[in-house]
Amino acid sequence: MNIIVCIKQVPNTENVQIDPQTGRLKRDGIESIINPYDEYAIEEGVKLKEKFGGKVTAITMGPPQAESALREAIARGADEAVLISDTAFGGADTLATSYTLSTAIKTIENYSIIICGKQAADGDTAQVGPGIAEMLNIPHVSCVKKIEVIDDVSIKVERMMEDGYDLIESFLPVLLTVVKEINNPRMASLKGKMLAKKAIIKSLDAISIGADIKKIGLNGSPTQIVNIFNPPQRTGGEKFVGQAKDIAANIVKRLSDLGVI
């Protein structure tokens, strides 16, 4: 069972700080990491391979430095890695990105499952996974928290929803986006790190994947960012200090005065 895992390199937004003077994002020294959701995607791909055989191919679209994310994927158990990189991809929105990745995936033969993280931590859109599935004309299931392989042609998954989860059966090939509930990603092993160091990362550009120039990068992007600004900061309110008993009495009184409780 061959698996493709789509990953993205993102700035580590966990540690992002706002510069109090300029009110802008402090970017100095922000490291690039694998999108946290994609770690679950890689782990799930590797687990399926360990159980059913086959190989895991990690792919990413990004600048040349995104290669380090692919090496990390190999260190975590992926067998092969493909970097899709070209300045012509610059300015791609989710539609152009879905097109580019799906076009690149068409050059990879015989896959059963494509796994993506639920969303990327920088854009938070969750749009590229379903977009790829549509362009490849295969089914997809979002927010998957459990995968069960039935046979060579079908799988059963649990899809997380606001009120619980759905059980969905799907034909293969299928694209799944996964949530953190699905597994506990292992750390890279020493052997994995060695393999990652030596691995040859295949690099593909717009021409080698046979992309239509009208559908990639800025040309292929219907959406355009017109403004970026900082969200208004919430300012502090009233402080309640002293004995727990008094604090409790005061806040309950306040809330009942406001008619909240």
């Binding site: 966990e14 610059g90 749009q127 727990a244 809330l255 409780i261």
Partner: protein, 408 residues
């Protein structure tokens, strides 16, 4: 030919404004020893640049030149009319976000001088259409078929996109729910148009009829406004509880239209086998008016039982920060924030939560109450009411106080 962006070195004074303004860190400053005044020069990393033009607007010296290569095929935008909203139903119950979208849709339609349409997809669902008319919709398209009983991406996408291609709306709003976020991108990819995720503000530019869609990005650290200038329809998923529900309109007359599709055209390669309800909570946190949330400071599963007691007393739901989920004190379905759910309660009680932006981005509350022993943490500094002290002790006292109020 691709788009180009150039720094005009004669005009650049090395002020760094562009580098600071770039949301993608695509601009760096390089030394320029040959310059008579040794001024720095801006340099653009084309691998990171998205040609968004923000640097261009920031530069006071007109030193940045952007040429956009718009091969994009222009469509005849005048063919697209009307604002549509998706009426989300699950197990036959309409999600409230649908009425919120209707309210916003009505305002947008008024500004555009057009009508509001509602798309209702399901099985035996027609009875739900009239409510949308009563609340101000001009037209409800009903897609009724047994295959549409439970939400599955492919059949819903098939039906919805056929309807779009036939009727050509200019705007489509869909709730940014688990369902909306799953199938809206697939529709956009099918009909080849733009989709903006998780919008929290929508405005019309009267000149271009473009919809300005504003959404948080980078874990809520920045807000981005996005338009879809050359394509129609313009599609957005919109967060729950950002807008108020559409109110009933006395005597509103509208039309209910059956949209029949040939079942043979509905692709479906998945099968809905069943649904398992989350029993750990009776109230869905994305719908709750009061949320009692716990973080690292809660310390244990027992700590969450105390929070649960308070939540039950207030008729609220239980939320948690990522730290509490990762510690295994409470299931992931309770997580609020960037990697969890977005909530909009009236009151949010944050217990032992320090308030990282990754958590607070998920909260849109009228009143935030922070309970923490550390008065210097972000949550305490930004809360409406900051309660300083031992979290457990304060909660115990609040529970006691409420009980005695109610008894007395």
């Amino acid at each position: 030919m691709a788009s180009t962006i150039n720094i005009i070195s004669e005009k650049c004074v090395g002020c760094q404004m562009c580098a600071k303004s770039c949301p993608f860190s695509a601009i760096s400053m390089v030394e320029r020893p040959e310059h008579p005044k040794k001024l720095m020069l801006a340099k653009i990393d084309l691998n990171k640049c998205t040609y968004c033009g923000i640097c261009n607007q920031t530069c006071k010296f007109n030193a940045i030149e952007i040429k956009l290569d718009t091969l994009a095929t222009s469509i005849d935008k005048s063919l697209y009319k009307g604002v549509w909203i998706y009426a989300e139903q699950r197990h036959g119950v309409i999600h409230k976000v649908s009425y919120e979208l209707l309210n916003k849709g009505k305002h947008l339609a008024k500004e555009l001088g057009t009508t509001v349409g509602v798309v209702l997809i399901g099985d035996n669902i027609k009875a739900k259409a009239q409510e949308f008319i009563n609340r101000g919709a001009d037209k409800v398209y009903v897609c009724d078929d047994p295959i549409l009983l439970e939400f599955q991406d492919e059949p819903y996408v098939s039906v919805f996109s056929q309807l779009i291609e036939k009727e050509k709306p200019e705007i489509i709003l869909i709730g940014a729910t688990d369902i909306g976020r799953s199938f809206a991108p697939r529709i956009a990819a099918k009909i080849k148009t733009g989709l903006t995720a998780d919008c929290i503000s929508l405005e019309i530019d009267p000149q271009t009829r473009n919809l300005k869609q504003t959404r948080p990005a980078f874990g809520g650290n920045i807000m981005a406004s996005i338009v879809t200038p050359q394509h129609r329809p313009q599609m957005s998923t919109v967060r729950h509880k950002v807008f108020k529900e559409a109110k009933l309109e006395e005597g509103k007359i509208g039309e209910i239209v059956d949209f029949k599709v040939d079942v043979k055209t509905i692709i479906n390669r998945t099968k809905f086998l069943g649904f398992v309800k989350d029993e750990s909570t009776s109230i869905d946190i994305s719908d709750a008016d009061i949320i009692v949330a716990g973080g690292r400071g809660v310390g244990s599963v027992e700590g969450f039982n105390l929070l649960k007691e308070l939540a039950d007393l207030l008729g609220g739901a239980i939320g948690a920060s990522r730290a509490a989920i990762d510690a295994g004190w409470i299931p992931y379905s309770h997580q609020i924030g960037q990697t969890g759910k977005a909530v909009s309660p009236k009151v949010y009680i944050a217990c032992g939560i320090s308030g990282h932006i990754q958590h607070t981005i998920g909260i849109n509350a009228d009143i935030i109450i922070a309970i923490n022993k550390d008065p210097s943490c972000t949550m305490m500094k930004t809360a409406t009411y900051a309660l300083e002290g031992d979290m457990h002790e304060i909660i115990l006292n609040i529970i006691r106080e409420i009980k005695s109020c109610r008894c007395g």
